[in-house]
Amino acid sequence: MVAETVEPTTAAPYIAGDEAVLRVENLTKHFVKKRLGRPTTAVKAVSDVSFDLAPGETLGLVGESGCGKTTLSRLILRLIEPTSGRVIVEGKDVTRLSKRQLREFRQRVQVVFQDPYASLDPRQRVAASVAEPLTNSKLSSDEKLRIVHETLERMGLQRAQARLFPHQFSGGQRQRIGIARALSVTPKVLLLDEPVSALDVSIQAQVLKLLQELRDEYRLSYILISHDLSVVRHVSDRVMVMYLGRVVEMAPKEELYTAPRHPYTASLLSAAPVPDPDVERTRERIQLLGDPPNPASPPPGCAFHRRCFQAELVAQKLGDSEVTVLEDGRRVPRTCAEKQPVLVTQDATKHWSACHFPLSREAVATVTA
């Protein structure tokens, strides 16, 4: 066993201490593009990401496509090797496990995929799919079948349905089968990658509710990746916002949604439409300019400065010597264009952000009112 004791570091948004079921330390993944066998450019998909997960906690992970959400989840599952950093599950460094130990680890951290149509083998009966994670266990086939039946029943499916094939189920039912498969080995951590976005609206609520019940029942910890900010708000305890491979903000849900400090978070929240015409027709929205930058050639300084409304506002009050003029003529503070902000917490709370000029509660009220 490579059970290592891990020194707690204070300069990262850790909350769970020794209790943590999962702890990610300075995780970094650079994909190196090779040309004629020689490395040329590195895509910094994930840079210096640290966080932990308390038992029973749900951590929401949001960001635009290309922000590194998927790479981060693949690193956590150890489907790919990190460039540097560590993933610690129940005190063990996952990045150094041998093949055998890895098998055991795989039972602690399971994943539920987005597309319930693609993630189940169409030629395998449901029972076989759900039992698949149990392959390495020493259980007898009767015991395995008992687990399959029990798990399926807990998901609201019938015992007899274990003999059916995936095509005989609806999308919502298939997602339940996907969850059953992940839970058959009684994991501690469940990574939910867009678990409801392929489902109909009326079915989404059923699956979300089931996930919440399961979390409380088995004291599971979730990492919920979703582009739907409503879903993240509904399910998460804490939320982490990523931009171009880095964590730009992390806070308890309530804090993050009502008083975001990073202008990027504020822009994301402001872009999400609200199903109430009275609210929608009267509120101002922050329009984010352009697309996210290319992770192969990120802009210098803060990666967000070219799309940032706050940078422009701050620059208005600065003298010419403190301002950088961008290609499109917009003026931003020199600091934003040159210096990479670090993830810090200003008031020793659980609210972390990486911005040179974080928003105050009042500023948020004026831009989103």
């Binding site: 609520a205 999400a272 609200v274 199903p275």
Partner: protein, 339 residues
């Protein structure tokens, strides 16, 4: 029609449309007695889950039904003239020129081996028979219209050289290249990042204003409806179940399905407490429940005989209110008032 009985600005008028599709497993009616009006310069949202008939309604009008599909009854009028979508030649002329369409899977709609300018120019040449040079000019102009910077240069790009958001804009450019009177956007923002979603919706809304088009948004996102649509039709099991001004339908709904939809979705701006999921599943078109097709999932039906016996008519409760197809709409309205 209490929503608006004035028909002078109606560009596309769909009346009592019923569509059938013969499948190997039996005959289905994905669109059943649907009436909708698209008005100049206005936005209509059509909301529903998969199998509700929201896309099929417009596919029928555009003559794009899958094999085995026909229009069984009903009429479609474009600018007052009756048209026959089953006439292939007529439908082809209607598509693009009169009614533009943006499909759900936008990125699959572009050919990877032609430049985007060429693909738009092809649309223009096919319909307008102009010279290649003129068609290309029009393509460049349209790329500019949809907010693509340096359109002259970008017209020579292949799809893979553009970002997802930009490709979505190219698809929209193809939809509006012929300056149609009606633009149908089928789930234009599904699976896009919220920021890109907002950009695309603002663009569509701006094009509607600029070109005076009638915009139809087919969506399941009630937030999009709240922000952009003046009018909304909620569909279930092939029928329109509630139809009226967006504000009425979303704030003062008198159909249990719409109410259930609102109560089952979380919101980005508030904590909603516990969600109330709708039990069961959307209806299977091969075996649509008798009477009101929502009755097996409806908490108001609760074994009442009329719900499983009679198909409810689409009617309005008062001259100003929206249309609803529920036997117990009065009861719902009364309970709302007493609350």
């Amino acid at each position: 029609m209490t929503v608006n009985s004035d028909r002078s600005d109606v560009v596309l008028d769909i009346e009592r449309l019923r569509t059938r599709i013969e499948t190997p497993r039996g005959v289905v009616h994905p669109v059943n007695d649907v009436s909708l009006q698209c008005r100049r310069g206005r936005t209509l949202a059509v909301v529903g889950e998969s199998g509700s008939g929201k896309s099929m309604t417009f596919m029928s009008v555009l003559g794009l039904l899958p094999a085995g599909g026909t229009i069984e009854s009903g009429t479609v009028r474009y600018q007052g003239r009756e048209i026959d979508p089953t006439d292939k030649k007529a439908a082809r002329q209607l598509r693009g020129k009169a009614i533009g369409i943006i499909f759900q899977d936008a990125l699959a709609g572009l050919n990877p081996s032609f430049t985007v300018g060429q693909q738009i120019a092809d649309v223009v040449r096919h319909h307008e028979g102009v010279s290649r040079a003129k068609a290309k000019e029009k393509a460049i102009e349209t790329l500019g219209l949809v907010g693509i910077p340096n359109p002259r240069e970008r017209a020579d790009y292949y799809p893979h050289q553009l970002s997802g958001g930009m490709r979505q804009r190219v698809m929209i450019a193809m939809g509006v290249a012929l300056r149609p009177q009606v633009l149908v956007a089928d789930e234009p923002t599904t699976a896009l990042d919220v920021t890109v979603q907002a950009q695309i919706m603002e663009l569509l809304d701006g094009l509607r204003r600029e070109l005076g088009m009638s915009l139809v948004i087919i969506t399941h996102d009630l937030g999009v409806v709240a922000r952009y649509a003046e009018e909304v039709a909620v569909m279930y099991g092939g029928r329109v179940v509630e139809h009226g001004e967006a504000r009425q339908v979303l704030k003062n709904t008198v159909h249990p399905y719409t109410e259930a939809l609102l109560r089952s979705s979380p919101r980005p701006d508030a904590d909603v407490g516990e969600l109330s999921p709708i039990p069961g599943q959307p209806p299977n078109l091969l075996a649509v429940p008798s009477g009101c097709s929502f009755h097996p999932r409806c908490h108001r039906a609760n074994g009442r005989p009329e719900c499983s016996r009679d198909i409810p008519l689409l009617r309005s409760l008062s001259p100003e209110s929206q249309l609803t197809a529920c036997h117990h709409a009065e009861e719902m309205a009364l309970q709302k008032v007493s609350k």
